[in-house]
Structure formats: structure tokens, C-alpha cells
């Protein structure tokens, strides 16, 4: 087989070959307005790439004057994709070294108050830095949670950084977040932005208990309840107690949220919603059940 990479190295340079690889990774993982993705199965290709343990060579090798901000964005997207697909990037020796070298930056940045204002934009490699801290074991998810999401700072608006951080923590320590949500004073202790975020990450991982689901359903903020309940609807298959969780949230006080569930939950869950108090919601459930029998 012809090696196009080696051909480019021989014809131009190693840096040029790595740049071509980075452009390709950019279009596949980050998405660019300026570059179309042309491949017959990009999702499968991304999985093959991330599991291959070969791309570290191009990512961390000489890539000439490739834009640093774009490079950091690619790095973050690779780490995020790896987390979502249960791939351990530390097995790649180049990624492994980067993880060790950068494992302390997240905690140091948080202690220094780098992200304390909602308008401070994180560096483009922030997802990679979050993952590196946890993968290297430099910080525990609980330590980082307390540093970032303590009650006194909980009135802050939620930014992209908070969303990614909460997802990274929930994947590794969902029980810890679950206990916080189950706490009787949860609604008092945290602002509605953070409450919505915690519901979202737990629901995304299929980890809500009956009690936590009830707190979500009764949240004084419609926005927080809506984020959580819609995430439940989209991720019911991940729950081992899906029907129990659904039964706790379907009588939510906001009919448009219940209607969202009625329109979107998988058909097998519809019978559990047929006892809903709201007549419009019940009608929608019956309509979908009738459609499924035709």
C-alpha cells in the first residue's frame, strides 16, 4: 500500500504531512465552515482514528506554523470524543506524555480563579485539561467539584467550561453528584443554572434516583426542571430504572415539559404516561399509542 503520509514527508516535509493530518482532524472532529467533510462514513472513521494510537505522532510532532488555537480545539475535541466513546487516550505514548505534563493545570487554574467570572473565556484546550487532570489522577472529581461548584459560587451563570467539567465529573463520579442533588437543601444551596446542569449530567448518564428525579420535577425553576426532564426523555434507554424516573417527573407542573415527554419518549414508555393529569398530554399519549398499533 502506498503511504501518502510518507510520500508527503519525502516530497515536502514532516511538518507539512502533519499539517495535512491536522487539517483533516479539524474538519472531522471540530467541523469547519471552510472545509467540507468528505468521507463515506465519518463517524466510523472517527472511532477508528481515536482508537488507533497512531495520531499522537501527528498531533504532537512538528506541525510547523499550524494555528495554535485550532490545534488546541482539535485536542479538546479528541479528548471529548474519547471520553464519550470510552477510549483511553493515555495508551498512545504521545497523548500519555501530554496528559502527565498537563495534569496539574486544571486545579492550578481553578485555585488561581482563572474561570471565576462568567465572561472569562477558557483556553481552547480546556476539555483536554479537564480530562488530563482526571486521567492522570492528579485531582479527584470530588476535589474539582468542590473547587468549582461550591455553594457560594453557585449563583454564577453556567458557561461551556462548567458544562464540560460537570460532564467529566459525572462520568467518573455520578454518585457524588447524585448525593448533592438528593440533599434536602439542594434547591436552596445552588442557583438554578447549576441545578439544571447537575440534572442534565445525571440524566445524560442514566443515573437519577427516584428522590433526585422528584427534586428535579419540583424544582422552583422551570428552566432547571426543563433541562433535566428533557435530558431524561432523550436518554431513557441509559437508565436501569427508566420507568421509575419517568413516573416521578411526568406530573411536572409545566404542561409543555410533560407534552415534550409525551411526544418524544420511546413508545414502550407511553403506557406509563397515560395516567398523566393533564388532558392534552394524555391525548397525545393515546394518539401515539394508537399510531403504534396501526
Amino acid at each position: 500500500m502506498i503511504s501518502l503520509y510518507d510520500t508527503i514527508v519525502a516530497t515536502f516535509s514532516q511538518a507539512r504531512a502533519n499539517q495535512v493530518i491536522l487539517h483533516s482532524l479539524n474538519s472531522l472532529f471540530v467541523g469547519s465552515r471552510h472545509q467540507e467533510i468528505v468521507d463515506h462514513d465519518p463517524e466510523q472513521l472517527k472511532k477508528e482514528i481515536i482508537s488507533s494510537q497512531f495520531i499522537g505522532e501527528a498531533m504532537f510532532g512538528d506541525h510547523g506554523f499550524f494555528n495554535q488555537d485550532e490545534w488546541e480545539q482539535i485536542l479538546s475535541k479528541l479528548f471529548k470524543f474519547a471520553r464519550e466513546n470510552n477510549v483511553d487516550l493515555s495508551k498512545d505514548k504521545y497523548f500519555g506524555k501530554w496528559i502527565v505534563d498537563n495534569s496539574g493545570r486544571l486545579q492550578a487554574d481553578l485555585i488561581a480563579g482563572k474561570y471565576s467570572s462568567s465572561w472569562s473565556r477558557p483556553s481552547s484546550d480546556y476539555v483536554a485539561l479537564i480530562e488530563a487532570a482526571f486521567m492522570a489522577g492528579t485531582s479527584t472529581p470530588e476535589q474539582i467539584f468542590r473547587l468549582r461548584f461550591n455553594s457560594s459560587s453557585s449563583r454564577r451563570n453556567r458557561g461551556e467550561f462548567d458544562t464540560e467539567l460537570a460532564h467529566a465529573i459525572a462520568v467518573r463520579s455520578s454518585d457524588f453528584i447524585l448525593k448533592i442533588v438528593e440533599d434536602t437543601d439542594f434547591h436552596k444551596n445552588y442557583g438554578y443554572h447549576y441545578r439544571g446542569l447537575f440534572y442534565e449530567v445525571l440524566a445524560f448518564n442514566g443515573k437519577l434516583s427516584k428522590k433526585a428525579a422528584r427534586h428535579m420535577r419540583s424544582d422552583p425553576s422551570m428552566e432547571a426542571a426543563e433541562i433535566g426532564i428533557k435530558t431524561v426523555g432523550a436518554n431513557l434507554a441509559k437508565f436501569s430504572n427508566g420507568t421509575e424516573v419517568l413516573s416521578q417527573v411526568m406530573d411536572v407542573n409545566h404542561p409543555h415539559i410533560a407534552m415534550y415527554l409525551a411526544k418524544n419518549v420511546p413508545r414502550e414508555y407511553l403506557p406509563f404516561m397515560a395516567v398523566c393529569q393533564d388532558q392534552g398530554v394524555r391525548q397525545e399519549v393515546v394518539k401515539r399509542m394508537m399510531e403504534s398499533t396501526v
Binding site: 500500500m1 502506498i2 503511504s3 501518502l4 503520509y5 508527503i8 495535512v20 493530518i21 487539517h23 483533516s24 482532524l25 474538519s27 472531522l28 471552510h34 472545509q35 467540507e36 467533510i37 468528505v38 468521507d39 463515506h40 472513521l45 477508528e48 482514528i49 488507533s52 497512531f54 495520531i55 501527528a58
Partner: protein, 75 residues
Amino acid sequence: MTREEIFNRLIIVAINGMAANAYRDGDTLKAFCALKIADVVPFWDGFTDQTKIQVISAHHAELSEWIKSHKESND
């Protein structure tokens, strides 16, 4: 996939992306050249049929010539 396969596939994605951009910008010759390079490892699959047809139509004579020479060199 081997290292060569992964890297080839990524480079083809970059080349095809280049070709698509060039075609969108009206530079069909550049698009055609990029696709010719991509054909070192045959990979027209990634391109939509409509774009392929448009590129081929625009450069039919050159393409025929290239296929002929490519075939001869393979023979």
C-alpha cells in the same frame, strides 16, 4: 486499521475537502487535480455523485487523457 491505512484515509479526507472547497469556489481545475491525487488510492466514494458528474463534465477531455495514461502506466 494500520498506521498507513489511518493516515491515508485522513489525507484523502483532507484532499477531498480541498477539492470540494475548490469546486465550491468555482476552481474546477484545482478540484479536478486534487481528485486526481486522491485517486492514487481510489476514493471517489466520498464525493457526492452530483459533484463528481459536474467535475467530470467540466474536465472530461483531461480526465479521459489522465485515465488513458494511468491505465497505460498500470499496464
